[in-house]
Symmetry: C2
Subunit: 560 residues, 2 copies
């Protein structure tokens, strides 16, 4: 009988495998800190009280909280492989996350998602999946693959798949788009949940969106917006990512009557921020520093995510729950001393204590060699002085502003191009960019949401072309060219999205790239690569650029 | 597309089927009362805001709350058929309940549960089932049927079945009883939940019980007990039934940090209490009168039950949720003005507004004619002056006290007998009863938890035998005999548990029976029949009587 050992340990008849002695621990059910020994056996919590174990860890002065959970992330956006992400995140107290493999699905489709499922199978971190709902994300875009209803249905029956990922096509849903609604119904019919993505949606349109069964949102940037969504029954995922930081605006939500419907997520995070500041612990730390009660912050960082996704058996410190435990030196500062996954010590003092399995080349084959251009040269960027729309950047935000049109770069305006790279169609969209700040050279990347074509901006066509051609050589990545030379780069051979490097090395390369970019004039408040990578995402207001040209997101149409 | 109509209604493009205009309504997510029109279409809520409908109901001055939900009831204990129960409960604002068909399962087994599923299929009330876990409830008892693991498994896959009902064999679970653990694992493996029943269980034993996956309790009678269970992750079902009333003791649980893990239940309720005082509305009313915030009381009375059982789509007033709505004249007094089930008016002014389907005889056949005795006569009750245990009654409680032994009735002591009635084994358990108060005659019933043999108590063997033989004639029921005559009775032909009568008539008969019983001396604070019916339940401390004799519940053994 499976139960027999946990019973005898709970009863105190047998010694536990592990006892965290004299711990202060978070009780998520009452949202309070309590004291007791936590007895663990077979990877699960057997009891809380006074216990003896084969291994005993004195936790006097320390606090145990449930392992932290990221409710919504695109792992690929960290630029490192899932294993390297796990190494960094687990050391920061994370024991589970819910990823939407939207980026790799846009490049490699089904086989990209299968790669991510394989690559996360045996990590010291539970990786759950939401099936990407909008691949491609827009009819005004060209990506590598299309995920239809039947493919989505086939993933929904797989282990670790919890539902349908952020339904970004909110205008489509509200307008009754047949395919969008079919995907939602398919997920709900299979008992899955459906995540939302509906920035600024409100009133009757929001009612309509929610009525379809879309039960969360992570795109909320104001308190009023969050309150409206929460009152309509949506879980609010408070996002603190590298490109978008919403915690400060949503802080009042972490009060008595609303915090129980909130959880935390990163959405997109770069390895530098992950290494230096942390993962979900970083959000907890920031919330507490801004006055949120620690017990509430930790509930949002663990239990509430488990509740939102119906993950029975994780996210709480109670008998029968998985022993996914984060031990803190300082509860207010979210200082992680050690992390236990299913009762096994997996991180201590900021470093992983267990080996990570090496990925085989065979495992990766499906996601290598994904940059395919058609006859690209510097002439491809010539616009012959045509007037084209201008996209205005807003520091620290993903939303952009419409800034009229221009006919040439210069005077703070840069040329911006998005070059199709999946099927070698030769399509190139071109417009202008304001507020980026670059004064010389060009910046290019194959990380360009959501279709991950090549996005490039620069002061001159020559450097822009040089950078693009370098990406073709390396199979994707990030690159900076100036005066005809490659100044700095980070190759991302895995689908043009992730590198082969450990997080520290990737971080150093990225830091070098950013420093070089800032040296060439990129503005403060703009992340040279991440901000750029969102300029081609035509589902966030108000104007974006795709391979087919500039898109008015509000009107959901291509600009002339 | 299913979604199209709800979308256009939500958007205000089409008129709703029904709009509750200008309503104050309960928002369960923020636990606050808000204002807005509630638009309903196709039985679901399309939106909240400003809406027009084909039918509009002005709710100015009224309050709309989600339809009330009883988290744990044994429908059979109401003594009326499921349809008649629905008629009374819906008028009191109930739109869903979770029943454990434990009583009828003990009499008729599988076919009893199937009868209950059939009889609740088309009521204006959602009836969900938990499969009875302990049939029979104890090895020291004789019932009509046994529900094994395989039978339980077969029910768990049926629609409306949510998991395994109260695991009363808590000593068995804690001791590692193979069958009890198999039943629990079977339910959890199929995605069901498991309800608990563990009065006074505490400390390491409670840890063990909870570690097996038992996630609720409704047997909690003190605040300390409730807090301990709640902190270990159990949902607390606050019970106010006809025999057990725990609200007053557990009232402090309805505070900020604990009320969100509480729901309400009746467990067992007689038709008189149901008609006169109400169902879940009665508990809400009482909680508010004792100082609980109305919004919290209504959340416990609706949403929290839906959460506990994972009933997605009911229990809240928000887009996409079922339009199960209870309209209140007075929110503090829980005065129900009207009830909507899937958007349809089903009750108004305390009366059902829709017809109830008549049950066919064919539908009932499996549960008729269930009283089978072997050669019973007055001699069967003769104890020949043997010393036998004395059970002490505690007013308003199901627990009893051990009161030593006695050799004869008299001086406040009554003879108590439990007579096997399913398989005509001829087994009779006899002891004495203190505190019941009867001064003349005998009281007998086939409603005798949990095996529903005949339980009879009286001042003399002659009246006791007369009462028992009358139950044999009527196919079960409740009866009072005095001086050799049947004074009063309520026949219960459906499994010896439920009558063919409407709730009012059943109530009148029961009132007559009780009055007659009190006239014959039954003590205040004792319900002549319901209290008696629990004297044979050997899973509630401290001493009970079965067909095999008196049982020491604490020691889990038969007394000599």
């Amino acid at each position: 009988m499976k139960h027999n050992r946990i019973l005898s340990v709970a009863l105190g008849d047998e010694r536990a495998d592990l006892v965290l002695k004299n711990a202060q621990y978070l009780n998520v059910f009452t949202c309070e800190f309590l004291r007791g020994d936590i007895a663990v056996t077979g990877g699960r919590i057997a009891g809380i009280g006074s216990y003896r174990g084969k291994e005993e860890v004195d936790c006097t002065g320390k606090t145990v909280v449930p392992g932290l959970i990221d409710g919504h992330i695109h792992l690929e956006s960290s630029l490192i492989s899932p294993a390297q992400f796990a190494r960094a995140a687990v050391a920061h107290g994370t024991t589970a996350l819910v990823t939407d493999p939207h980026e790799i699905a846009n490049v490699c489709g089904e086989s990209g998602i299968q790669y991510m499922l394989r690559a996360t199978r045996s990590l010291p971190l539970d990786v759950y999946f939401m099936v990407s709902s909008c691949v491609p994300c827009s009819p005004f875009d060209e990506n590598g693959c299309t995920l239809g209803v039947e493919t989505i249905r086939s993933f929904l029956t797989q282990e670790r798949v919890l539902g349908l990922a952020e339904m970004m096509n909110y205008p489509g849903v509200v307008a009754g788009d047949r395919e969008a609604l079919e995907k939602i119904e398919c997920a709900l019919a299979q008992g899955g949940v459906v995540d939302g993505h509906a920035p600024t949606l409100s009133g009757k349109q929001l009612n309509a969106y929610v009525a379809c069964g879309i039960s969360s949102d992570h795109e909320t940037t104001t308190l009023a917006e969050a309150l409206e969504k929460l009152r309509l029954g949506q879980w609010i995922m408070i996002r603190e990512g590298t490109a978008a930081k919403n915690l400060r605006a949503l802080l009042p939500l972490l009060e008595e009557n609303t915090f129980r419907r909130c959880l935390f997520c990163c959405d997109d995070i770069h390895p530098g921020e992950l290494m230096a500041q942390g993962h979900i612990d970083r959000i907890v730390r920031s919330a507490i520093a801004q006055g949120v009660k620690p017990e509430r912050a930790y509930c949002c960082a663990s239990y509430h995510a488990a509740l939102r996704f119906g993950l029975a058996g994780i996210g709480a410190i109670a008998p029968g729950y998985a022993a996914d435990l984060t031990l803190l030196d300082d509860v207010s500062k979210a200082e992680v001393a050690a992390v236990y996954k299913r009762g096994r010590l997996v991180a201590q003092g900021g470093a992983l204590t267990v080996p990570l399995e090496e990925e085989t080349l065979a495992n990766r084959k499906a996601v290598l060699g994904t940059v395919r251009l058609k006859d690209f040269s510097v002439q491809s960027l010539d616009t012959h002085g045509r007037p084209l729309p201008v996209i205005g950047l807003v520091p620290h935000q993903l939303v952009t502003t419409k800034e009229g049109t221009a006919s040439a770069a210069g005077d703070g305006l840069l040329k911006l191009a998005v070059i199709e790279r999946h099927k070698a169609t030769g399509h190139i969209g071109i417009c202008y960019l304001k507020g980026y700040g670059l004064r010389s050279g060009a910046v290019a990347t194959t990380v360009a949401h959501d279709s991950h074509n090549i996005i490039v901006t620069g002061t001159n066509d020559g450097d822009m072309a040089r950078a693009v051609l370098r990406l073709q050589e390396t199979g994707g990545g990030m690159v900076l060219a100036d005066h005809g030379e490659i100044v700095c780069e980070l190759p991302l051979p895995l689908a043009g999205l992730m590198c082969d490097l450990d997080a520290e090395t990737a971080q150093q390369r990225l830091t070098d790239l950013k420093q070089a970019a800032y040296a060439l004039g990129v503005s403060d408040g703009v992340d040279p690569f991440m901000t750029l990578s969102f300029m081609s995402l035509p589902v966030i207001p108000h104007i974006k650029l795709t391979t087919l040209g500039a898109v008015d997101v509000d009107a959901f149409r291509l600009l002339p």
